[in-house]
Subunit: 131 residues, 2 copies
């Protein structure tokens, strides 16, 4: 089963999304939050993301969801700190953070592979909320 | 200037998004969080959203961003509790929560009207994070 890392500029958002997605997946998926910078203010931190990638590590890979494009550089730095064989199993998703994380968690929990999970998460961006 | 309400099933997500968006808008926009249910667990609560709508009230209207489609019913109930003339000024956005809130806050802070702010927020769903 793939692991999931939630990267946000806000520690509260990262932790809240982790809780929400975990609950939707009935706790069956390893989901790790990496939000904020060292003093828990707004920003992203490559070391913190690196730690989360290690914690969420799985042989099926780790899907990273992030809030804003400005989180991509820290995430890429965090990935580069991993051994090369692990780097290849990390995918950064284009999915919207909250909406995508919930879907990714559910899809991962039923054993779908990385490609399927990420496709479902990214499709959240075109799903309507209002009927 | 329009007001913004952040509705999430998670109190931490709502509060974190409020902080993040407020910071991006340099505190110039009234942004109110309405997350979770009464005991601060996962869910949405019409009364809490109603309170947030009143707090964010502005003659230019209030834009509501929400995390999942399942938050729409509580939000609509909350809107129906308002006087009719206020109801008309509330718009529920299709935007992705975190990504849309940041853009909405910035657009609102420069004085754009409801239509422009919501269009910009909803366009977040097609913005790429990865280059």
């Amino acid at each position: 089963m793939i692991g999931i890392v939630i990267v946000s500029h806000s520690p509260k958002v990262a932790e809240g999304v982790r809780e929400l997605a975990s609950q939707m997946a009935q706790g069956r998926v390893k989901i790790v939050a990496a939000g904020g910078v060292d003093d828990d203010t707004i920003g992203t931190n490559a070391e913190r993301i690196h730690g989360a990638l290690i914690e969420a590590d799985s042989e099926d890979g780790v899907l990273v969801l992030l809030d804003l494009g400005s989180a991509v550089m820290s995430t890429q730095m965090a990935i580069e700190l991993l051994p090369e064989d692990q780097q290849k199993k990390i995918v950064i998703s284009e999915a919207p953070l909250v909406e995508g994380a919930v879907i990714a968690a559910v899809e991962a929990s039923i054993g779908h592979d990385m490609e399927k999970v990420n496709a479902a998460a990214e499709a959240a961006s075109t799903m309507r909320k209002l009927m």
